[in-house]
């Protein structure tokens, strides 16, 4: 069976009922889609199938034969981030990072379909994704910033500009 992943054609050996997640991770060794729950519940395995976000853990290989699959490895590189990747990095939308690829793929699909997405659109598009670290606010803010055109990937520096420290507690050593 043939699938195209990030623009590369693969002839794969897994049986047709193997999950796309298994094929990506175990046969093709593309490891950004994560086995968070393998029940379609957490969103950590989300990839794009012909541009649409899909749970790789729930899709049998046979269903995506001939389709174009995109994972986060196919978006940008550390030297050349996509706008969504840049926003997640510079706005602290990734903490432990385990759910990040899934969120980035869902956000990328949303902005492809609706470049000027509203906050409500973002909430709707990300509502099936679970993150236990961030509390979601920074993720939603990052995607909204891309939609508002506030993110220039080429301007993301290896280190951000230090700001004046804000002292919250009188007498704090900060």
């Amino acid at each position: 069976m043939r699938v195209s992943v990030n623009g590369v054609e693969h002839e794969v050996q897994s049986p047709p009922l193997a999950s796309l997640l298994h094929v990506l991770r175990e046969e093709l060794e593309i490891t950004s889609p994560k086995a968070g729950c393998q029940q379609g519940g957490c969103g950590a395995c989300t990839v794009l199938v012909n541009g649409e976000p899909r749970r790789a853990c729930l899709i049998p290989l046979g269903v995506v034969a001939g389709a174009a699959i995109t994972t986060v490895e196919g978006l940008g590189t550390p030297d050349e981030l996509s706008p969504v990747q840049a926003a997640f990095h510079e706005r602290y939308a990734a903490q432990c990072g385990f759910c990040t690829a899934g969120f980035v793929m869902a956000a990328t699909a949303l902005l492809e379909r609706k470049p000027a997405a509203t906050r409500e659109d973002v909430l709707e598009a990300l509502s099936g994704h679970v993150c236990r670290c961030t509390g979601y606010i920074k993720i939603v803010d990052a995607v909204e910033a891309v939609a508002r055109g506030e993110v220039q990937p080429e301007q993301v520096e290896p280190s951000f500009e230090p700001e004046e420290a804000e002292v919250l507690i009188p007498g704090s050593p900060a």
């Binding site: 994560k34 957490c42 994972t71 432990c96 679970v130 993150c131 236990r132 670290c133 507690i169």
Partner: protein
């Protein structure tokens, strides 16, 4: 201090957003076998028969392990601190919680490993299960744990106790006694990365252990203790954790994988399913806290009596330590000169409980702060003024005899009030953490104060 308050990039941020971070499950070692475990379907049962021959004979199975394969099966997570061992790595005579591991299989793929687990022959003698920790000290409460209903090793006591001052006197002199019961419940940490370990036997006789642990050197000690190996035969690779929140402090998967890898002489990987995470991974504990405070009508806290029950689940793990932290914090951020605290670590048939974000302290903070509001309500006084008046100050002595040098209660409460636009009278708004004097040094607080030369009360 240039970094404090500055906007610095995460050192791992670029790898996260480009899918290049290597978690344990992403490490690829040729020839890795997959692990599945036989887990108890019962909350409480005796094991009357355990036979693994049919599982071992299944094609594709490379190793099956039970308690007999573990050099030192029973170990305690805090044994290095002198807390005795009580928990088997793999259950032997009995199972005390649903999901407890009994045997484990390493096979060529997950399906084969799962089939082999189904071929293990086991028989149980089911026993009644008990969950309500409030009944632990009832005379007819059955024995779940050989140590009895509660953890018995707090020095000469079966509970953690704090005593200070004259509590009976405080309650006699009180204008009002305010009581409350607080019962925060268990929480599953639910990291998106499930518990995962990969153990590789090396040609030099060592094991390389890829671990999602939050406590790498601690986990190394646990594995070494079970194997009865010196630490220098273990190479731990860790530090990349897909969420932990305290739940990955327990060493849950590395040791069983190590035993399997040694028996199979092949690399083995165990990645828990989400069902296993919810069923068998440790959670934050349920707590039961009863507080009675002796207070005066003008808002001074004279004394506190407190009883805490901490649900440890089936084994001790870190709970004795968690309850000790809890005891240290039982007066919160406030100075109460007369206290009487008893805390019990109770054994039940639930999954063993563990650390989660402020181990032992979040429970008591929730209870204490809710209780402060209750006192304010019953006295009809402002809840922030009650807090500021009784706040810890320089020179105050805590219930466990620590003389405070830099307590932050007053500045924190004032900063919080300012942020939410909460109006306080000038005598409160201008408070500092400085030593008590004048109106803020009533007679009942004089004796507990450390003297100005730094001596203890």
């Amino acid at each position: 201090m240039k970094a404090v308050g500055a906007r610095l990039p995460r050192y791992d941020g670029l790898a996260h957003v480009t899918g290049r971070t290597t978690y344990v499950d992403d490490v690829r070692i040729r020839g890795t076998l997959w692990v599945k475990a036989l887990r108890s379907p019962h909350h409480h049962a005796g094991i009357t028969r355990l036979e693994t021959r049919r599982a071992e004979a299944l094609p594709g199975v490379h190793a099956v392990v039970t308690h007999e394969d573990v050099p030192k099966n029973v170990y305690g997570h805090l044994e290095a601190l002198g807390i005795p061992a009580d928990e088997p790595l793999l259950a032997e005579d009995d199972v005390r919680y649903k999901g407890q591991p009994i045997a484990a299989v390493a096979a060529v793929d997950e399906d084969t490993a799962r089939q082999a687990v189904d071929l293990i022959e086991i028989e149980y003698e089911e026993r009644p299960a008990f969950f309500d920790m409030r009944k632990a000290l009832d005379p007819d409460w059955p024995t779940i744990h050989p140590w009895g209903p509660v953890y018995p090793h707090y020095g000469p006591y079966n509970h953690r106790r704090v005593r200070k001052g004259d509590v009976d006197g405080a309650f006699e002199n009180a204008d009002l006694i305010v009581e409350g019961v607080y019962r925060p419940q268990a929480i599953e940490h639910c990291p998106i990365e499930p518990q995962t370990a990969l153990v590789v036997p090396e040609p030099n006789g060592r094991l390389t252990i890829y671990s999602c642990t939050q406590a790498l050197y601690f986990s190394m000690g646990v594995v070494a203790a079970h194997l009865e190996w010196p630490l220098n035969k273990l190479k731990f690779v860790g530090g990349t954790v897909g969420g932990g929140f305290g739940g990955k402090v327990d060493t849950a998967s590395e040791t069983i994988c190590a035993v399997l890898a040694l028996k199979a002489k092949r690399p083995v990987k165990w990645r828990w399913t989400r069902e296993e995470e919810f069923l068998a991974s440790s959670t934050r504990a349920p707590w039961h806290m009863e507080i009675a405070d002796a207070v005066t009508s003008d808002g001074w806290m004279l004394g506190r009596r407190m009883l805490t029950l901490h649900d440890s689940g089936a084994y001790a793990r870190f709970s004795p330590y968690g309850l000790t932290k809890h005891a240290f914090h039982h007066t919160g951020a406030y100075t109460i000169p007369n206290v009487h605290f008893d805390g019990f670590v109770v054994f039940t048939n639930r999954t063993p409980t563990t650390a989660m974000r402020g181990f032992g302290v979040t429970s008591v903070s929730f209870a204490v702060e809710t209780h402060m509001n209750r006192i304010a309500q019953e006295l009809g006084i402002d809840p922030l003024q009650l807090r500021l008046r009784n706040a810890n100050r320089i020179g105050d002595t805590t219930a466990n005899r620590v003389v405070l040098k830099d307590p932050s209660t007053v500045p924190v409460v004032l900063a919080a009030a300012e942020r939410v636009g909460y109006d306080l009278p000038p005598e409160y708004a201008s408070m500092t953490a400085e030593r008590r004097s004048g109106d803020l040094l009533p007679e009942h607080l004089a004796a507990q104060q450390a003297s100005a030369d730094g001596g203890e009360a």
